[in-house]
């Protein structure tokens, strides 16, 4: 991440003119803003059938900044109509053209990197230096990755015997339903949309209720890039349109990122329609620091310290937030002292200021949840080492949703060690040896991510293979390159994203079993 930040934030060409980016719609802003946004269906802006809209709040200042469609099941049907109308032509589009469209999407995002970065920061509350350096560039790369992946994906054939050949073709599933989380409104959309389109499917996307707008800004750019109906976006409440989309007999697959209960509901709807689903449901990722990280005071130790502080990345609103730090007992005091000193240097403030390191939580609801978790942590006997309360930044930010970077020290049976808080709250504990580290790491319902920090390569390998999680970052954390499979063990979900294998997950397998023999079987 350091390298990426160096490139993007230090570059003057991508920086704001006067220190802080102007809010969308304000004079000098790189983002234009309409008072009201409609659904993106069939390449057009379509008003919701019932004419209802809902307010979209910026967590930066707690104020409404635009309205978006409050869609209903009727709008889901319109989006599905458009997707089905486009399905055949898009499914038959040559790989050359399909990849070209994906590359064009990437080019357009890249050309508008600053605009999308500011839009997403304003809507989600994440620091613009993260959207400039991570979210948007990664989204660009993701589309390019799948443009290449779909060109290189080959079907297989098997010579069963000298006259019989089994050919295997990838065929599109058809129309996909995709439900996007609020924590990376554009990157998580890219993770879902890119493989679906690359495999020749059309999609209906429902962004998360707190972050419906930035993806509509993306749609404005894609209107002339993606053929009408291939990508459709509808906004509205999950209970209404999320359900209507996920339970629709007109979709061939549903993709979802969110919490466990809705994940089960999604799989339940999929079962009722006998269609596949991919669900990513969060985690409680351990980040493990062995004593040898302090064998030298060098770049690697510096990297490990940053590795712990990465729990505050995207204000902790990350499915793989390294929210449980396990530190070897013998270095705990010295290591934590260094980490706390680093955390004290975190600057919290206006997310549109490129020097801001910690922005606003996405919603008031999330703020309340984080507060209640810190409360229960303290009630269970955890010790608050730093932070622990809402941050009041005054001025225009006073009504935004800011929480101080927080560390709670306790033990792994506490609820703050067992549940995803989705805030800048780290639960820290110690271990005596490798066996205990592994035991604590795996003592969780979840298994999405993990981090292992050690100078001992053999131990890193043993731990990496021993931890029951879909991804184990080894001497790094929070890297999300296209091409590294991402998904959960245990109740963290079913399926993978972010890898060429997704093309298989978004395809049917057609087997043509061909006999080149002229002889009958001889049975009848």
């Amino acid at each position: 991440m350091t390298d990426v930040l160096d490139i993007e934030v230090a570059g003057e060409a991508t920086g704001p003119k006067n220190g802080v980016f102007a809010a969308p719609g304000q004079p000098g802003s790189v983002v234009t803003l309409l008072p009201r946004y409609e659904n993106f269906i069939g390449g057009k802006w379509v008003a919701p059938v019932r004419g209802e809209y809902m307010a979209n709040v910026s967590p930066v200042n707690g104020k409404v900044f635009c309205d978006v469609a409050r869609s209903t099941a009727e709008d889901v049907e319109l989006a599905l109509d458009a997707a089905h109308a486009a399905r055949k032509a898009w499914g038959e589009t040559s790989l050359t053209e399909r990849a070209a469209v994906l590359n064009k999407i990437a080019d357009v995002i890249e050309a508008n990197l600053q605009m999308l970065a500011v839009a997403e920061s304003w809507e989600n509350g994440k620091p613009v230096r993260e959207t400039l350096a991570a979210d948007i560039p990664l989204a660009v790369d993701h589309f390019r990755y799948f443009a290449g992946a779909t060109r290189s994906l080959e079907g297989r054939s098997t010579e069963i015997d000298k006259d019989t050949v089994a050919y295997h073709f990838h065929e599109p599933l058809g129309v996909i339903g995709q439900i996007i989380p609020f924590n990376f409104p554009l990157l998580m959309a890219a993770w879902k949309i890119a493989p679906a389109l690359a495999a020749g499917n059309c999609t209906v996307v429902k962004p998360a209720s707190p972050t419906p707008w930035s993806i509509l800004k993306l749609a404005e750019l894609l209107q002339d890039v993606v053929p009408p109906g291939v990508l459709n976006i509808i906004t509205g409440p999950g209970a209404e349109i999320g359900k209507a989309l996920a339970s629709s007999p007109r979709i061939a697959k549903i993709g979802f990122t969110g919490e466990t209960t809705t994940g089960r509901l999604i799989m339940q709807y999929a079962a009722q329609n006998l269609i596949p689903s991919t669900v990513e449901l969060g985690g409680k990722s351990p980040n493990i620091f062995f004593a040898d990280v302090m064998d030298a005071d060098d770049d690697f130790l510096d990297k490990a310290i940053e590795g712990l502080v990465l729990y505050a990345f995207n204000k902790g609103e990350v499915c793989t937030c390294p929210s449980r730090a396990l530190i070897e007992e013998s270095i705990y005091d010295r290591f934590m002292e260094r980490c706390l000193a680093r955390i004290e240097k975190i600057t919290q403030g206006n997310p549109l200021d490129p020097t801001t390191m910690l922005g606003a939580q996405v919603s008031k609801q999330q703020m309340e949840k984080i507060t209640s978790y810190v409360e229960i942590g303290l009630l269970e006997g955890a010790e608050c080492l730093i932070g622990g309360k809402a941050a009041h930044l005054g001025g225009d930010l006073e009504n935004g949703y800011y929480f101080e970077p927080t560390i709670l020290k306790g033990h792994n049976k506490m609820r703050v060690f067992q549940e995803e808080i989705f805030g800048p709250v780290l639960a820290v504990t110690t271990f005596k040896d490798e066996a205990q580290a592994l035991e604590i790491a795996n003592d969780t319902l979840y298994g999405l991510g993990a981090g292992v920090w050690t100078r001992d390569g053999n131990r890193a390998y043993r731990m990496g293979r021993g931890i029951q999680a879909g991804r184990v970052w080894t001497n790094c954390y929070h890297l999300y390159p296209a091409g590294a499979a991402f998904g959960g063990y245990k109740i963290s979900g079913v399926g993978r994203e972010n890898h060429q294998m997704m093309l298989e997950h978004y395809s049917q397998t057609k087997n043509l079993l061909v006999s080149y023999s002229t002889k009958p079987l001889g049975f009848f």
Binding site: L281, L379, F422
Partner: protein, 128 residues
């Protein structure tokens, strides 16, 4: 039987009970399922009764306002030493949950059971 009273596993506030009554009047019987995990995990999700298929291993924690309140059995194991307080807060629900009224959603807070309460609960396990 003369032992200390078994505490509620889920205690609804007056605001939550009022909201439940209004939601039930509006859409018919509802149920709650305590979620976990990503995004709006840790929220109590409110569904039309029967919308969510309760599994054989789910745990019914309590009945609040006439509605069943469930949790996943694995999650129950790590939550069972705490009482859930069901309440209502401003803002739309973020997942597939029904709203607790206009611009309102259900939330939980938690409280750690004391030793006596845990003892009483031990003799009266939650339904499963």
């Amino acid at each position: 039987m003369n032992r200390s009273p078994v505490p509620r596993r889920v205690q609804a506030t007056a605001a939550a009970l009022g909201a439940i009554a209004r939601v039930v009047a509006d859409v018919g019987p509802v149920m709650f399922f305590q979620s976990g995990g990503c995004c709006d995990g840790s929220l109590p999700l409110c569904f039309r009764d029967g919308e969510f298929i309760v599994g054989d291993h789910d745990v019914k924690l309590d009945t609040v306002g006439g509605c069943s309140f469930y949790i996943d059995h694995r999650q129950f194991e790590v939550w069972k030493h705490t009482q859930i307080i069901l309440d209502v807060s401003e803002g739309e629900p973020e997942g597939f949950s029904l709203a607790a009224g206009p611009e309102c959603h259900f939330v939980i807070r938690s409280r750690v059971f004391d030793a006596d309460e845990l003892k009483a609960l031990a003799t009266s396990p939650a339904d499963s």
